[in-house]
């Protein structure tokens, strides 16, 4: 069964671009465009990985991470943050909030695909690493 990836991104064009790439790689996709629906969709859809933007309507990426990390069945799902924000400030905050990786926009497609492959491939070591 293909891995399921939840894309949380409020820019439909960016969603479209990522969707083209990820679908071509054979992933199943879920898409949320705001913070609230992102949490709902994550709970219902049980994704294997989340690609999360930080600036979102109805909250922000940090709020989404905080909520997801408090849910037992979602706390171990890897999160890759993709944001245009300055990584000097936002990267440490994102990692602290529970993100596994921070990619600054614009990024090379290969970077995102490589990170996703790594995260899904090394899922086994994550439980020990986490707490």
């Amino acid at each position: 069964m293909p891995n399921k990836i939840l894309i949380v991104e409020d820019d439909p064009d960016m969603v479209r671009a990522m969707a083209v790439r990820l679908k071509r790689q054979g992933y199943d996709l879920l898409v949320a465009t705001d913070a609230i629906s992102a949490i709902g969709l994550a709970r219902r859809g049980k994704p294997d990985l989340i690609v999360l933007d930080l600036g979102l309507p109805g909250g922000d990426g940090f709020m989404v991470m905080k909520r997801l990390k408090s849910l037992p069945d979602l706390m171990l799902v890897p999160i890759i943050v993709v944001s245009a924000r300055d990584p000097r400030f936002s990267e440490p905050l994102a990692l602290q909030a529970g993100a596994d990786l921070f990619l600054q926009k614009p990024f090379e497609a290969a970077e995102l695909l490589g990170a996703i492959q790594n995260a899904l491939g090394s899922g086994g070591v994550r439980p020990q690493a986490r707490k």
Partner: protein, 599 residues
């Protein structure tokens, strides 16, 4: 006739009697004078009574007495005034001749005469003094301090009186007090004036301080607002740029269908410009960081030749000016340098961009790298083009913020005027310098230097005189291993920088040195020289392993770390060697262990 004769006879007798009486008086006076009983003689004459004092060896003392500011008199044993000075006469307001011969007690008011008499008797035994009221001629009285002392002399004992007018002394005291008060008032006034001036100065100073603080605050606020604004603008520009980038690369990768050669070229031009725009946005942020000293440089040990080659390769691949040939002249024996490869790449790319911008087509750009002749502790990298060159008057300005060269060939590609400014800041942070060769004709040459890596320089701070004998040094080797091929160089750099950060948190700055990792190496190694014994090293290793295992992004990127430790054997080193020699010895020991040698 007979009666006239009688009358004349009687007259003569009478005159004889008077003359005899006078003679007797004079004889008595002479006797008294000879006996030393007379000091002065009062003579009535047509000009009134005059006092004549007898010349004696005491004359100088009499003059002295006359000059005294106190009243003075000499008395005989029963208190009769024999002589007095004018001052005493003036105190009581009577002529001196009236005083001589009168009892001294008569000077006092009647009520005080008895006390004066007692004083007189008492003084015969030596000295006595008392405050007494003297009666003035006009009926008023005056307070005096009367000091009486006995003057034992043969054949009779005498006394002397010194009378100090207290009211006058009081006057003087009063005057002094008033003077004093005046002075004090002046002092008070001046002090108050000074205090006021001081207070005003203080207020002005505080006001200045306050203004300073406000300025400082408002400057800080302005910087914060500017940073916030730039950060916001950068974010807002990056988002749509990101979409453009994504779709162009989707098309280029053929995900939107097959593209022909022309389409591919157009798409490549598009993506190059997207990257240029992205770089400009980065420059804006970098310049803002440089202004506030927030530019980050993470030096490691690198082969700069490799960084140069790599940079030139990617420049060739992305540069629009393909007609320009790029040549490299890199010395074979370049030592390892201590520099941030990403930053060196950034600086070099910027210099190449600049060279291309100002070069005519069909020309060449040459990158050279060699050890700096004047100072072998630095490697010099230069970029030479055959363009229009930098005007001599511009030479010093081209590294200034927002400076625009006047003779750019492509006015549309002038850029923001931040590139060289950022280069200068980055090279400065490496401890090197950047300059334009203003003697060059027929093009321009921009050069920069970076320091040669030296273990000695890095470990010198932890090696102190006298510490060598008592403490041992441990070399910790941390090997960063990756289980899969790196998805991208950026990710690898990030991973190494994460490890660097974790290790940095595990060391004590005064005792341990984290040597920069060798980026050229196939194995990504970090070394820590720790001033500790094997037991201490164990503690550090344990802590490192814990910290590394907590670093989730390392786990996610498939990275693991191996840590090993090794005690340095430094037996040959003597404690009384100079610091430099000790450093050299430890450094050469380390160099052997680490196999750090020139390429």
């Amino acid at each position: 006739m007979r009666s006239v004769k009688h009358q004349a006879e009687r007259d003569l007798h009478a005159r004889l009697d008077r003359a005899q009486a006078r003679l007797l008086d004079l004889e008595a006076a002479m006797t008294a004078i000879r006996g030393g009983e007379v000091d002065s003689i009062l003579v009535d004459g047509p000009l009134g009574s005059r006092i004549f004092t007898l010349q004696s060896p005491e004359e100088p003392y009499r003059i002295l007495l006359e000059r005294m500011n106190e009243g003075a008199a000499s008395l005989n044993a029963d208190g009769t005034i024999l002589f007095c000075n004018t001052r005493l006469a003036s105190i009581v307001g009577r002529p001196p001749e009236r005083l001589v011969g009168s009892p001294v007690t008569a000077l006092a008011i009647p009520a005080a005469r008895e006390r004066f008499q007692h004083l007189l008797l008492k003084s015969l035994e030596g000295e006595a003094r008392a405050e007494l009221q003297f009666e003035r001629n006009d009926g008023s009285f005056v307070l005096v301090l009367a000091s009486l002392s006995a003057v034992p002399a043969e054949p009779v004992c005498g006394l002397c009186l010194v009378a100090t007018e207290l009211s006058q002394r009081d006057n003087e005291v009063e005057q002094l007090e008033s003077l004093n008060a005046h002075l004090e008032k002046q002092v008070r006034d001046r002090t108050l004036g000074l205090q006021n001036a001081n207070e005003q100065l203080k207020q002005q100073f505080e006001k200045g301080e306050q203004t300073n603080r406000e300025l400082e605050h408002s400057r800080g606020e302005q910087i914060r607002l500017r940073d916030e604004f730039l950060s916001h603008v950068s974010h807002e520009l990056r988002s749509p740029l990101s979409v453009v980038h994504q779709f162009v690369s989707i098309l280029l990768d053929g995900l939107g269908g097959a593209v022909n050669a022309d389409q591919k070229e157009y798409l490549e031009i598009t993506i190059r410009n997207v990257n240029q725009l992205k770089d400009m946005i980065d420059d804006l942020l970098e310049a803002s960081r440089a202004d506030t000293c927030k530019l980050q440089v993470r030096p490691s040990v690198i082969r700069i030749g490799e960084v140069i080659q790599q940079t030139m390769r990617s420049f060739r691949a992305t540069s629009a000016t393909k007609v320009i040939s790029l040549e490299a002249e890199i010395a074979d024996d370049l030592p390892l340098v201590h520099a941030d490869p990403a930053r060196i790449c950034q600086v070099l790319t910027n210099l190449l961009d600049n060279a291309a911008k100002f070069s005519p087509s069909q020309s060449s750009i040459t990158v050279r790298a060699h050890v700096l002749e004047e100072d072998p502790a630095f490697v010099c990298v230069s970029v030479a083009d055959c363009g229009c060159g930098v005007a001599p008057e511009e030479s010093h300005h081209i590294f200034e913020r927002l400076y625009q060269a006047k003779n750019s060939l492509q006015a549309s590609r002038r850029g923001l005027g931040l590139g060289l400014y950022i280069c200068k800041e980055l090279i400065n942070q490496h401890g090197g310098r950047i300059w334009n060769d203003d003697k060059r004709k027929g093009g321009s040459t921009l050069s920069f230097t970076v320091p040669v890596f030296s273990i000695g320089r890095m470990i010198a701070p932890i090696i102190r005189q006298g510490t060598l004998v008592h403490s041992s040094f441990t070399l910790l080797t941390i090997e960063v291993l990756h289980s899969k091929p790196w998805p991208s160089d950026r990710l690898r750099e990030r991973a190494l920088s994460s490890v660097h950060d974790v290790l940095g948190r595990c060391i004590l700055p005064d005792l341990d040195v984290l040597l920069p990792c060798q980026q050229h190496s196939e194995l990504n190694l970090f070394w820590i020289v720790a001033c500790t014994d094997p037991k201490g090293a164990e503690v550090i290793v344990k802590r490192m392993r814990e910290q590394l295992s907590l670093c989730v992004d390392l786990q996610l990127a498939g990275i693991s770390c191996g840590v090993s430790s090794e005690t340095l054997h430094l037996d040959a080193i003597e404690n009384d060697w100079p610091l430099e020699k000790q450093v050299q010895a430890v450094a050469s020991c380390l160099e052997k262990l680490l196999k750090v040698e020139p390429v």
